[in-house]
């Protein structure tokens, strides 16, 4: 049997055992996300479409799956979705700028053996692809932070219905700070694990510090880690602000309705 099949079966059984119905939904969402990723890659093959546009669209679809399918459609997930999109656009502009000035797109000389059988003049802008990679690696974490903040702010509002907008915003920031630590931790270790082979290889080649720091691969890895961290930090104030704004709007509306009733 294929190892991936066996591992997936184990994951599926465990998800059902522990999570029941939500476990099934989580497992299906993983599959859908895989499908969206493949579709994104296939769309990127068309050199006439800007990869950044494709990235924004597929990030929107991915966050729909992560927010509305695993959870439900309601105001909480709605504001989380809006905040995710705003953050993604800001981050994408920043990364696009960074990856074009830092010259870290494409493959490094260290990978030339693996590239040998391929034609490299494929007509797709790899600088833009590089920016997309960074965004897509962070999208899971960004939506997670957004939904955690909007859920907790919803709880705060339920317990303190008269809270001011500023206080509500600050409560969102506080919750955000609590998850910032665990989420950056999750991301950093995932990146460490993913890059382990390359790190061992750098050590094997006896690269000097100067050679490591300036190499294309290391540069693109560091930029990915940094931008992922910037993304999960940036979503915190953005979500807190947007959610506080819409919560107050919703409350005013409710009060108006009540007054009209009287």
């Amino acid at each position: 049997m294929n190892t991936l099949t066996l591992l997936s079966i184990i994951l599926f059984v465990l998800m059902i055992l522990i999570g029941g119905n939500r476990g099934v939904r989580s497992f299906i969402s993983l599959f859908i996300n895989f499908g969206i990723l493949m579709l994104t890659v296939i769309l990127m093959l068309d050199s006439d479409v800007n990869p950044m546009i494709i990235t924004i669209v597929s990030c929107a679809v991915i966050s729909c799956i992560n927010l509305f399918f695993i959870n439900d459609v309601n105001r909480k997930t709605g504001t989380a979705f809006l905040s995710t999109i705003v953050t993604i656009v800001i981050l994408l502009l920043f990364i696009d700028f960074v990856s074009s000035v830092s010259m870290t797109q494409g493959f490094g000389e260290e990978q030339s053996d693996a590239l040998a059988p391929f034609s490299l003049f494929v007509g797709v802008d790899f600088a833009k692809i590089g920016a997309s990679v960074v965004i897509i690696s962070t999208i899971g974490a960004i939506t997670e932070v957004a939904i955690s903040i909007t859920s907790s702010m919803g709880e705060t509002l339920k317990h303190h219905p008269a809270i001011s907008r500023k206080e509500l915003f600050l409560s969102g920031m506080r919750i955000g700070k609590d998850i910032l630590g665990t989420d950056t931790n999750t991301l950093f270790f995932a990146f460490f694990g993913g890059y382990l082979a390359l790190l061992i290889w750098f050590k094997d080649l006896h690269y000097t510090l100067g050679e490591i720091v300036n190499s294309r691969i290391f540069g693109s890895e560091m930029i990915t880690i940094f931008c992922a961290g910037i993304g999960v930090a940036l979503i915190i104030p953005i979500t807190s602000w947007i959610n506080a704004y819409f919560s107050m709007k919703a409350r005013e509306k409710q009060q108006n309705v009540k007054q009209e009733d009287i």
């Binding site: 066996l6 591992l7 997936s8 184990i10 994951l11 998800m15 522990i18 999570g19 029941g20 939500r22 996300n33 990723l37 890659v41 093959l45 050199s47 695993i70 010259m103 494409g106 493959f107 590239l115 034609s119 003049f121 494929v122 007509g123 990679v133 897509i136 690696s137 962070t138 899971g140 939506t143 997670e144 910032l180 630590g181 665990t182 989420d183 931790n185 999750t186 991301l187 950093f188 270790f189 995932a190 990146f191 460490f192 694990g193 993913g194 061992i200 290889w201 050590k203 300036n214 190499s215 294309r216 540069g219 560091m222 930029i223 940094f226 961290g229 910037i230 930090a233 940036l234 915190i236």
Partner: protein
């Protein structure tokens, strides 16, 4: 950040900000003037001129444009410092393995010919340190501004863990000690203890989370290892690690262990802190209620965390998947060559996340129970 400094601020905080600003300024000044520290010749581009431009179509009918640019650069170090050098650079509009250079870029070059009138050389690579440093600082400032003390602790944890990893790999690569599994086992314990202590401080909540993380991660390792052995690794394509002259499977397992660790810690600390939180609010809360709420939090987390891992691992393969597909590889080959290890890592990480949920619930309850008996 300086704007926020006012009289109310404790002196330690002011000095901390001052230290950060000093670090920022001096490191930026350093990378802009560090050419003399490099052995390789560094040259700064002062003029570029497009010489030639041609359309190409490769054997798979991909259209691209090739450019040749003539570059004049000023040498920044070594005995030719201050002199100009002539360079040529060929690049394509896709930039898979090449690069357009613009005025202001710094390059590592080798000098080919030296005559009275002019020096000619060839480009080895770009000098990227100043850009990476700047992004690094944007990252540090964002984390500090948003997270304040929490952000600072995350940064410390990142730096300490990265240093530990680097030292451990040095031990693995250069010393006689060659057991990667043992080194990673020790690393995982150190990572867990350091990160969780920095995240949550010295208390019972943290002890419960550390216990749960270690039990969870080693159980995951055992399950994944058995699954791979049972299927003899069928379907795992190690080609993307072919540059390594070391046993791929071991390096892959070590990467899997470290990669899942963050998510497993996340589950453990979130569950234990909420169970302890409930207990602090109501000392008479029943064990059953604690268990139910812990499991509910776990259910909320498991989908999101598994997705985080999936995207972190899979996104990195996008460029090489595009290259494969553009070179007329089938979708099947492309996926199995580029994604098999990434999917295995993500799924194994998912297994770790879910196994840790009940483990974290029961360890936290055990620690709560012990605390209750003491009172």
């Amino acid at each position: 950040m300086n704007v926020k400094i006012n009289k109310k601020m404790p002196i330690t905080q002011v000095s901390l900000y001052a230290i950060i600003v000093i670090c920022f300024v001096s490191s930026v000044l350093f990378v802009h003037n560090n050419s003399s520290f490099y052995k390789r010749t560094v040259a700064k581009v002062i003029n570029t001129e497009l010489q030639d431009k041609q359309q190409v179509t490769d054997m798979n009918n991909n259209k691209d444009q090739l450019f040749t640019q003539r570059i004049t650069a000023e040498i920044k170090n070594g005995k030719d410092k201050g002199k100009f050098v002539q360079l040529t650079n060929e690049y394509s509009s896709s930039g898979v393995y090449d690069q357009e250079y613009v005025v202001g870029n710094e390059l590592f070059i080798s000098i080919d010919k030296r005559s009275e009138q002019k020096i000619t050389g060839s480009i080895i690579d770009a000098k990227r340190d100043k850009y990476i440093l700047l992004v690094g600082w944007v990252f540090i400032f964002t984390l500090l501004l948003v997270g304040k003390k929490r952000g600072f602790l995350s940064l410390i944890s990142l730096v300490v863990n990265a240093a530990l990893l680097s030292i451990a790999l040095d031990v693995y690569v250069h010393q006689s000690y060659k057991s990667l599994v043992l080194i990673c086992g020790i690393l995982v314990i150190l990572f867990t203890v350091i990160s969780l202590l920095l995240l949550n401080g010295l208390n019972e909540m943290t002890y419960a989370a550390i216990t749960a993380t270690l039990l969870g991660i080693f159980l995951t390792l055992a399950v994944t290892y058995m699954a791979i052995k049972f299927t003899t690794g069928n379907g795992l394509r190690y080609e993307e690690m072919q540059f390594l002259t070391r046993p791929y499977e071991l390096v892959f397992m070590a990467g899997l262990l470290i990669g899942s660790l963050g998510a497993v810690m996340d589950v453990a600390i979130t569950i234990s802190s909420s169970i302890f939180g409930l207990y602090e609010k109501n000392h008479d809360i029943s064990l059953h209620a604690l268990k139910k709420s812990g499991m509910d939090i776990g259910k909320d987390l498991m989908g999101a965390l598994t997705n985080i891992l999936f995207f972190v691992y899979a996104a990195g393969s996008i460029p090489s998947m595009i290259l494969y597909l553009k070179n007329a590889s089938s979708l099947n080959v492309t996926i199995s060559m580029n994604l098999s290890l990434e999917i295995a890592r993500a799924v194994a990480g998912g297994i770790g996340i879910i196994l840790t949920i009940p483990i974290a619930v029961y360890t936290s309850i055990y620690f709560v129970h012990k605390k209750r008996k003491r009172i």
